[in-house]
Symmetry: C2
Amino acid sequence: MVSFEKFIPGDGPIYQQIVLYIKREISAGNICSDDEMPSRRVLSSLLGVNPNTVQKSYKILEDEGIIQSHSGAKSLIVSDEAMRKKIRTELLEADAKNAVATLKQMGVSKNEAFDLIGRFWKEED
Amino acid sequence: MVSFEKFIPGDGPIYQQIVLYIKREISAGNICSDDEMPSRRVLSSLLGVNPNTVQKSYKILEDEGIIQSHSGAKSLIVSDEAMRKKIRTELLEADAKNAVATLKQMGVSKNEAFDLIGRFWKEED
DNA sequence: CAAACTGTACTATATGTATAATACAGTTGT
DNA sequence: ACAACTGTATTATACATATAGTACAGTTTG
């Protein structure tokens, strides 16, 4: 069963956060093919959001071929190694590009950026 | 005159992107007190967005004490060194925390993160 | 079989974001 | 003074996001 223990509410639309969470867990190897997704109703209750919001996330994951749903049964993850690598590359590029662009606009040097990342990495280990 | 040359459209509400852009430019020291903001109409035309959207940004900046507006005249930046440092700390903490949390959820190690940041830093220099 | 769960679909409502058009009073520059 | 700009305010419209409630057919489980 796919766990949402590490899910941390953040910025932006909730349905997008859920999609990203699943993609990142797949990217990390914490979710594999045939893992069961929690039902729409269960997850909505767990996250404290509306079932329709969760359904929107699942619809997107389904359209992208990341989960597979059979009416009446639980949705399953479908992600082979090629899919996992593709997702990982996409997410890492987007995150790194975003972080670098932001820090650079603020006039942070490469070394200062490393110090900063290193400091926050330690604080959470 | 405050320049928007480095402004790159991103994710999230436009009015928030404009607010963040100004804060990052102040943080970088590229914008100082008494610098003139472009008028609402000029900036909306420059960015290709609605004047009301720009107005919403300026209203937020005004409420946070970052700009000062006199009806009829151009809005001015008001940012002393204390304000600059406060803004810089806030933004750096938020950005670094966000980047670290994201990379960690994807199972990226500290060294891999440094490699990644370093790679994207070089590509844009 | 039957109860409980599942995915899916639909309507309605509220709020946030963005656009469009207009108006008016204050200032700036010639 | 006068034209051109400025900030500010208003109304209307449209789409995105999130919630609420309901419904129905397929499956899983006891």
